[in-house]
Symmetry: C3
Subunit: 269 residues, 3 copies
Amino acid sequence: MLSRPLGDYLIALRAATPLVHCITNYVAMNSTANLLLATGASPAMLHAQEEVAEFTAISGALSINIGTLSSPWADAMVIAARTAQQNNIPWVLDPVAVGATTFRQRLCKTLLTYQPSVIRGNASEIQALNGLASLGRGVDATTSSQEATTAAIALAQQHRCVVAVTGETDVITDGTHHYRLKGGHPLMPRVTTLGCGLSALVASFVAANHEQPLEASLAALACFSIAGSRAGKQAQGPGSFQVALLDTLYQLTPDDLSTFAQLEAVHAV
Amino acid sequence: MLSRPLGDYLIALRAATPLVHCITNYVAMNSTANLLLATGASPAMLHAQEEVAEFTAISGALSINIGTLSSPWADAMVIAARTAQQNNIPWVLDPVAVGATTFRQRLCKTLLTYQPSVIRGNASEIQALNGLASLGRGVDATTSSQEATTAAIALAQQHRCVVAVTGETDVITDGTHHYRLKGGHPLMPRVTTLGCGLSALVASFVAANHEQPLEASLAALACFSIAGSRAGKQAQGPGSFQVALLDTLYQLTPDDLSTFAQLEAVHAV
Amino acid sequence: MLSRPLGDYLIALRAATPLVHCITNYVAMNSTANLLLATGASPAMLHAQEEVAEFTAISGALSINIGTLSSPWADAMVIAARTAQQNNIPWVLDPVAVGATTFRQRLCKTLLTYQPSVIRGNASEIQALNGLASLGRGVDATTSSQEATTAAIALAQQHRCVVAVTGETDVITDGTHHYRLKGGHPLMPRVTTLGCGLSALVASFVAANHEQPLEASLAALACFSIAGSRAGKQAQGPGSFQVALLDTLYQLTPDDLSTFAQLEAVHAV
């Protein structure tokens, strides 16, 4: 089903420790950096228009998350995305709450012209991005991943990229191949910015595995679902869950990834 | 003494999972989001002048904290507070370190004209806000909650709002009814931004209980004091305290709240 | 070897609980505040040009970290550094990723004219700051502390300040006296912004021990290396490490510091 065992992508990540340029929201910065360091990547957060192009150009991948957006940041995101495209550096778009305001919709339209390698969002964000009527009221998903599958495939085909819709069941597609991934834990939505961190982890895996963005994205999502499931078993609540998630990501082995990912190819969509 | 058991306010919060628009400081964003998610609300952080009005208008409540203030953020706070007032959306003001600089004093004066539903601060902030000589040297309280009671009542009467002064003993008043709340733990001041998070939790409770801002605020403060006291018993220091606080807020039941809040009405002030 | 036992500096810190004005990056703000509170200082984060001078002037020390730099922040850093110099308030410079972009190099050159009391960085940052060819590719160290010793001494002599190069082995010098400090734990680089927090902790110790910036810096670094080593023994990974580090810093006694610091004077450099 896959060209290589999923664990190979984790081996490649840890061998490369890719430098990942993250332009992300204020809420997610610290937790994103820690999720990447725990798994094996090397995050760097910077956003000034004076330096983003210079820095994106030396990075292994770029991750853009529009969470706590403002005009100067939007301008920097555009510069960074353009630089990534010009330099063949893979980049990931996380269109947080794109359905909520016109400011976000305008920016996402512009960013999509720079051809992201991967788009990761929840179901309502992916639907909003695809121009369907958004049911989203903000940062949380209000439609199921399955309902967003059609939107994901359309988006992947239109922009020739990987689209990952995460939720109770994740849906991942490059427009041709489609997968479903289960796992995770009910405590995950009770911890802030895990999805934002996952987008940057996808960027990390794609940085270390350029030629296979779909399977690299699957590997990133599988890390989260396996580690999340294990962390949930140790946790008393969202506080201890966060701690355990970083520990389990750090302890995760390539074999774990190849063996325990609850992945299935979807033949009929 | 109260119109309903305190636990009823937690039941209402968890049933509504209100969307709470938080414009807060950089230090507090992540921990505030996690405190709200653990207890049962749905936080969203955004601050761009291009979108705050649009977003405040669809939120259940607004929480403004002036911690890491700058001019563009101050402008956004004013837009959001005005939007909240115009749409009858409850909003909470947390006047961090208002005694420390004239920049903060000017902004707070403006914000007060948009009639906050609740003001939460430490004793020196409440005194400074009331125009009394500030003894505050920065972000920490340097006067006791009791000493600030007079200022709190004056402020509540002048602005027709609830004022909560938190510290070793909390003082809560709407200008007519006055309460004292005990509990918590000595480790709480050793963890950053718990007070900031509490302000947003007050906003969450008021969002779910519009008609009773005083008792809803009491319920939010009681969550913190009961969970803080329990977390303190499990903790070895401020690191494990933070983790335990999120877990205990998540585990807190309405019965806990009704039974264990160390609340007393104050008849003579 | 030292003028006083290292523990005396911790006693002084906890007696003074100095107010430390931190202008630091978004990633580090929360963890820095918690590291300072756990150890015994009182952090305050603010950065608006409208108020930094007013606030630096009432602080015990200033800590500037250029991590997530932008133009308005750069301007505020210059105002704050100038205010610190004019008021004889000690200040610490953390030149994050100074080798990576010209924007950072220009700012650091300006900041150095305001005479920092201490500069703390990793080996590649200290080399870049000293004008040597930078081997740094971003925020992580890619040369060893030992290789940066020459750069550190040159920098200390030129700017008449303390320079601390942290890594597996720390190197600390005031241009005349040179020390090496061992300890810590391999998990430390897997947790984000510990170095940023350490810079602010150095500022805290210097605030409480003005007259001895070299030994005060040593005390701050020794806190981290001893607490880090202890936390590592309790941790299952970077999540539990962070929690344990805050707890062990909180529990650390002056005797621990005097007894367990793996410090050696370096006679020939």
